[in-house]
């Protein structure tokens, strides 16, 4: 079985090396294009200056409070959005009347581009952390909600009947059957929902704030400091990758019971 895919695969070391080369080539091209003035450095920045900005941020420690705020907003938005999505998802999935009532509104609310709510949240919650969290929550909520709803609907009727025969009460069915099934769906959408919480935080900051990486970008843009804008984008990207890595680790821990495609180990 292993041979089939083995031929087309590179070893891990080569792969990482090639990926690094690819990034270096892209940066090289960027550098070449801007120093040779094929692209205007005023609009496209200069890689060396961008790197300089990033190094300055970390050496002086100026970036940490901003990163901490962005992280805090992301975490809060993720937790609050997940809990709300889980609660409402379970409730609607298990109560046909409420779900029939709420369905058109849920669909409408989900279809609405929620970024336009940012100004309203800024008015309601001010320019601090809360308005960003609120935006993130509206993004995370729907992802979690739909996954929980699906998770409850996909519970195997036989597993459910078996639990009932074993004497599970309604509350125990909720806790031992519906919740595990729903959370497994929530975990499988963990990447998307953490990503959305992050988007909510950064977009919120960008649209009006006094702190955070999004604010740094906003501020630099105001002074046409394109290098700092790029530096902010790169830091955000690295940060997003880090978050994603953490999520992957958490996921592997929580979903041990899930069957995976191929689990044999090469000797």
């Amino acid at each position: 079985m292993r041979k089939a895919s083995g031929d087309a695969r590179l070893s891990r070391g080569t792969l990482v090396l090639l990926q690094a080369v690819l990034v270096a080539v892209l940066f090289g091209l960027w550098w070449l294009a801007t120093t040779e003035k094929w692209l205007d450095p005023f609009f496209f920045g200069q890689p060396l200056k961008v790197v300089q900005v990033i190094v300055d941020w970390f050496v002086s420690g100026k970036i940490w409070p901003h990163l901490a705020i962005t992280l805090w907003e992301t975490v809060l938005a993720f937790i609050i959005g997940s809990v709300l999505g889980l609660g409402v998802g379970l409730w609607l999935a298990l109560s046909p009347i409420s779900s029939a009532l709420a369905e058109p509104y849920i669909t409408a609310a989900n279809a609405m581009p929620r970024v336009i709510l940012a100004p309203i949240f800024a008015v309601w919650f001010g320019l601090g952390v809360l308005s960003k969290v609120a935006l993130g929550v509206t993004l995370v909520f729907f992802i979690v909600f739909f996954n929980v709803y699906q998770g409850v609907k996909e519970v195997s009727p036989v597993v459910l009947a078996n639990a009932r025969m074993l004497g599970a009460s309604r509350g125990q069915l909720l806790r031992h059957i519906y919740l595990p099934s729903a959370t497994s769906w929530v975990f499988s959408s963990l990447h998307t929902s953490v990503g959305m919480a992050f988007v909510g935080a950064v977009v919120g900051e960008y649209l009006g704030s006094a702190k955070g990486v999004g604010y740094l970008i906003l501020q630099a843009e105001g002074t046409f400091d394109i290098n700092t804008v790029f530096a902010g984008i790169l830091v955000l990207t690295a940060f997003a990758l880090l978050l994603d890595f953490v999520v992957t680790r958490v996921e592997a821990r929580l979903l041990v019971w899930r069957p995976r495609a191929a689990e044999t180990e090469a000797l």
Binding site: A163, M165, G167
Partner: protein
């Protein structure tokens, strides 16, 4: 609890542990199809401590009847009595071993086995000890921490068996419990089941495709007709001596005689059922 004074329909000297009376199950049409009557007017009683097997062609309604007995399915017509009391809701006296996969995939083998105890509020340590004991009895010692997807089909069946038996139910409803096992393991499990049954006289309603299995285990074998509108075609009392060894009993002349008699009835139905499912 009120005393069961009212005599159940069909009650003899002792009230039957489980009695289906005139049970009809009609499934509503979905997507423009016709309504389908799976079983019609089935009357079936299991005396306390009796081992009854039901055989019949595939799709005839065996699982449907078992679901009715378990209280999972409300019949379109007819009544169900448990120890003389009309059944409403889940049958609390019964344990059910399902034909399809019924283990919770997010729980390890041990956690699945102790689920019923957990629902009843048994202390964790005691439950775990009993769970380990039961896993060992079904030959799965050392597999406590495996998740269902890490077990073979036969192993999962044995976990399900332990999951049911740990609660010590009076009535066992078993839907082709051993059909996924190889013949040796199967005979071991069958003997284990017989031993357990004779030790504390449970009432068993056992469904199988395998006529030899039905005869070697049961006091009585019920043959169902092919669907739709399945009904019992015949009942055969199995007068083989007990205690039995399921492998040895198959060699006796009386076993062969009974097998021939029942197969004579069943054969035609199996052919009919097969012809129907092909259409």
């Amino acid at each position: 609890m009120t005393a069961a004074t009212a005599s159940a329909p069909g009650a003899g000297v002792a009230l039957p542990a489980l009695a289906l009376d005139g049970v009809t199950c009609t499934f509503a049409a979905r997507g423009g199809g016709e309504r389908y009557t799976a079983v019609r007017d089935v009357t079936l009683a299991i005396a306390p401590g009796e081992f009854v097997s039901v055989v019949g062609p595939t799709g005839c309604g065996k699982s449907t009847l078992l679901n009715v007995g378990a209280g999972l399915l409300v019949p379109s017509a007819g009544t169900v009595h448990v120890d003389g009391e009309p059944l409403s809701g889940i049958n609390r006296r019964a344990g059910y071993m399902f034909q399809a996969e019924a283990l919770m995939p997010w729980r390890s083998a041990l956690a699945n086995v102790v689920a019923g105890l957990e629902f009843r509020g048994t202390p964790r340590d005691e439950a775990a000890a009993r769970g380990r004991d039961w896993l060992a009895r079904v030959g799965l010692a050392g597999f406590e921490d495996r998740y269902p997807h890490q077990l073979s089909g036969g192993m999962r069946k044995r976990v399900a068996l332990a999951q049911m038996l740990i609660l010590d139910p009076d009535i066992l409803l078993m839907d082709e419990p051993f059909s996924a096992l190889d013949i040796q393991t199967r005979q071991l499990m069958e003997n284990e089941l017989l031993e357990l049954w004779s030790a504390n006289r449970k009432s068993v309603l056992f469904i199988t495709h395998d006529l030899e299995e039905a005869i070697s285990l049961s006091d009585r074998v019920v043959v169902l007709s092919a669907g739709p509108a399945t009904r019992p075609l015949g009942e055969f009392t199995i007068d083989l001596p007990r205690p039995r060894d399921v492998a040895e009993i198959r060699m006796t002349p009386r076993f062969v005689e009974l097998h021939e008699a029942i197969w004579g009835v069943l054969r035609a139905e199996v052919l009919k059922g097969y012809a129907q499912s092909k259409r």
